[in-house]
Symmetry: C2
DNA sequence: TTGACGACCTTACAGCGTAAGTATATGGTT
DNA sequence: AACCATATACTTACGCTGTAAGGTCGTCAA
């Protein structure tokens, strides 16, 4: 009775065989919804209409799966177009990275932590370095530039991922809840919340462009003197 | 036979009662060594000579414990001294944050993700905002400044935490291993590794000050025009 | 002396990643 | 058409995890 029915009781009726790409895609969707801790092999299998262990035909282990997910993120970010001026290319890259990381916030703390980078990761890095070198950056200045740019973009994405709200209404609600009775002891925080964050039209996301311009201006100035 | 011996076989002979502070301190030490995933209630209890469930007399649950750990990190970072010029204060703050996050790398992705910030966190934030406001920053510019500064510092710390090596020797070994046969297809990466990263005296940590100066210069320029 | 309280321990449960072993369907070769 | 190698999927089992529920005991106030 129970034996035969079990197979077709899954959420998804599997049309065809599984492959690595669809496992990775499903894993990314699951992490998008429940964070990286919400991704488990059992749940992932269930969502694909398969037992957990079947996934191991397509990924070596969970670490390998996460490596593939991160590599896919780099693929989505996209590489600078060869020959594009460095400032335009870096602006596009920063905005694209930030946009992808907003869709896949679980990836932000993982981008720099992979000891075995995938093909797309390597390609992306090489293309970015090439863009800067062709733009006149010396080797040491290229290292400075990419460290600074990535630190800013990753750090901003990390902050954005930590925001426990989505739109402006939620922001206002939460800000007021937190500040309840704390205004007296934290006057500057209270000022920021009441005069800025809860203002009509405020969106934390808008802070991104300000910082990016500061960073790019700084790099442009560092490029001027010689070279 | 086995019943009575078990209690004293723990790693640590408990002299006195446990308290919240020592639980938090031990948890930080454990996370320092094995990352946040290496911290488990059972192992933490064992290291304190206590059963896992006894920890729940001092912390509500693991989430509460991690909240306390993050708040302790903000406490260690320290607040700007009232009256200190903003640029000096922000430099000190950035370097202190980065230094603390190097010792406690597990904290970097967590700093911005706490929905219930602790007392030290709130105090630190308020003091930082106050320093900028007193330095002549308008409310909106203060928001820009702290977002930019924190993005840079957190992002840099994140990159640093992801480095899978510690000293220069390991760096060279790993770089050469990764580049094995990949030099031809990734010329710019190969160039960076061979001409810069594997050079005597190179230390990724040195990149920090360059970026920090760029950020602070940018803020100083944004402060000039008016206000 | 008593009785309440807080710190600690024991037991138990559902869920985790994955090692090991088994069944089954597919595609290529006779 | 018959066969078998291989890839894919399933089953079972192990030692982990966080923590709910309840029992034991030493300390201190009344």
């Amino acid at each position: 009775m129970s034996d035969e029915a079990a197979n077709e009781s899954s959420n998804v009726r599997r049309t065809r065989r599984l492959d690595r790409a669809s496992v990775v895609a499903a894993a990314m969707g699951m992490a998008d919804e429940g964070g990286i801790d919400g991704l488990t092999m059992r749940k992932l299998g269930r969502s694909l209409g398969v037992e957990a262990m079947s996934l191991y035909n397509h990924v070596a282990n969970k670490e390998d799966l996460i490596d593939a997910m991160v590599d896919e993120v780099f693929d989505m970010i996209g590489d600078p177009i060869p020959g594009e001026p460095w400032r335009e290319a870096m602006t596009t890259r920063a905005q694209s990275t930030r946009s992808v990381l907003r869709t896949h916030p679980w990836a932000t703390p993982l981008l720099d932590s992979r000891t075995s980078p995938g093909a797309a990761t390597m390609r992306h890095l090489d293309a970015t370095l090439g863009c800067l070198r062709n733009g006149g950056f010396s080797v040491p200045l290229t290292a400075h530039a990419i460290a600074l740019l990535d630190a800013y973009v990753y750090g901003f994405s990390l902050q954005e991922a930590g925001l426990p709200f989505e739109g402006r209404d939620e922001t206002v609600d939460l800000a007021e809840a937190i500040m309840e009775g704390l205004g007296e002891s934290h006057p500057h925080l209270a000022e920021l919340v009441s005069e800025h964050i809860t203002r009509e039209g405020y969106d934390f996301a808008d802070e991104f462009d300000f910082g990016l311009e500061v960073v790019l201006d700084g790099l442009e100035r560092a490029l001027q003197p010689q070279d």
